[in-house]
Assembly symmetry: C2
Homo-oligomer: 214 residues x 2
């Protein structure tokens, strides 16, 4: 398998954790979002991923350009260890936590959005940082409520083994810290992030340990 990735991409980070947890080796292909006018915007990368976003996973003749679809695919083709619980209600809970991050939080703070705010809307650095923190606070606050308010929460987001929800939580917390977001009202999120980061599969996926890290 090949993973088109950018070390700092939160969506690619999720997939790197999944591949590591499954024990799957892969070729790391860096796609630099800032150099060469944005390597993800090249015609050759667009042929692979029409959204011009990272990551893309290539597995033989299968090419998948959305991180959540990639992780579900890996879970279906390499079931152990499972990244979703067996029961539909549990699966729905894990997917909901993951989607609060992957749908409602991360896309608002993606590089292309921050660029649009700067160039098209002339938003200042302060205004863009406030935007970033606003959506992190809302999204991760909702995740905290779901986690703190449920007996299904264990050492990790759902019970005592890592799931798709944790794969989304850790990269989002990483981003939140990089932008100095206040996580003091989110003790469950912070506790689970720390528990995850003790696992080698999570540790090896951190941005600073990737081949294209700066």
């Amino acid at each position: 398998m090949q993973l088109y990735s950018y070390f700092r991409s939160s969506a690619a980070y999720r997939v790197r954790i999944a591949l590591n947890l499954k024990g799957l080796s892969y070729e790391y292909l860096g796609v630099h979002l800032l150099k060469n006018g944005g390597e993800h915007l090249s015609d050759s990368y667009r042929d692979l991923n029409p959204s011009a976003l990272v990551p893309t996973l290539v597995d033989g003749d299968v090419s998948i350009g959305q991180s959540m679809a990639i992780i579900e695919y890996l879970d279906e083709t390499h079931p152990q260890p499972a990244l979703l619980p067996a029961d539909p209600a549990g699966r729905a809970r894990v997917r909901s936590i993951a989607q609060i991050i992957s749908c409602d939080t991360h896309p608002l703070n993606n590089l292309r959005v921050l660029k649009y705010l700067k160039h098209e809307l002339q938003a200042s650095d302060d205004a863009r940082n406030a935007w970033y923190r606003h959506w992190v606070t809302l999204g991760m606050g909702a995740v905290e409520s779901m986690l703190a308010g449920s007996s299904a929460t264990g050492k990790f987001c759902h019970g005592d083994t890592p799931s798709l929800a944790d794969l989304c939580l850790v990269p989002q917390v990483f981003n939140a810290r990089r932008l100095d977001c206040d996580l003091s009202a989110m003790p469950t999120v912070v506790r689970i992030d720390a528990a995850c980061r003790e696992i080698q599969a999570f540790d090896l996926a951190v941005p600073e340990k990737q081949p294209d890290a700066e």
Copy 2:
């Protein structure tokens, strides 16, 4: 089952189509996003859905507050007709198309985001409309490339039966038309939208036929 919905919510619209396709009856509970200071922001609704977004599906003691998690749950608990193909590669393709819409397009144009642009960033009506059209053009352009470039595309996004991808496509096209987005470069999207709308399950889910429609 109960569905907390707002007639114009694109995410709720997806779930209404799924419920109709599965032949599941449900109680429609309107949550007005504009009246009473936003009914989704009330404490009682937040208790149900910490993200304070619609829709929420309640099925006995299971409550799910993310549209994509709801649809996967319905597909797991009521498998016929299937909304995802049987093979992992096909499932990944359908989920990818759905996620281009549900992660990369729709969340950027949600009501709360447009409000932030207006109130916090003082973006004009024109600037907000340009923002809206920008993300629709990018997202639906990527969907068009995926559809037009693949032999897996049939009468619908994946083969000749509606899938999760079509459930996301139709509400997004509805929104795009409401905001006068130019869809002329997206003939496959437009063709599939028309094919879907001939199906009663899609037709009964349109915003104007909901109990809370204005």
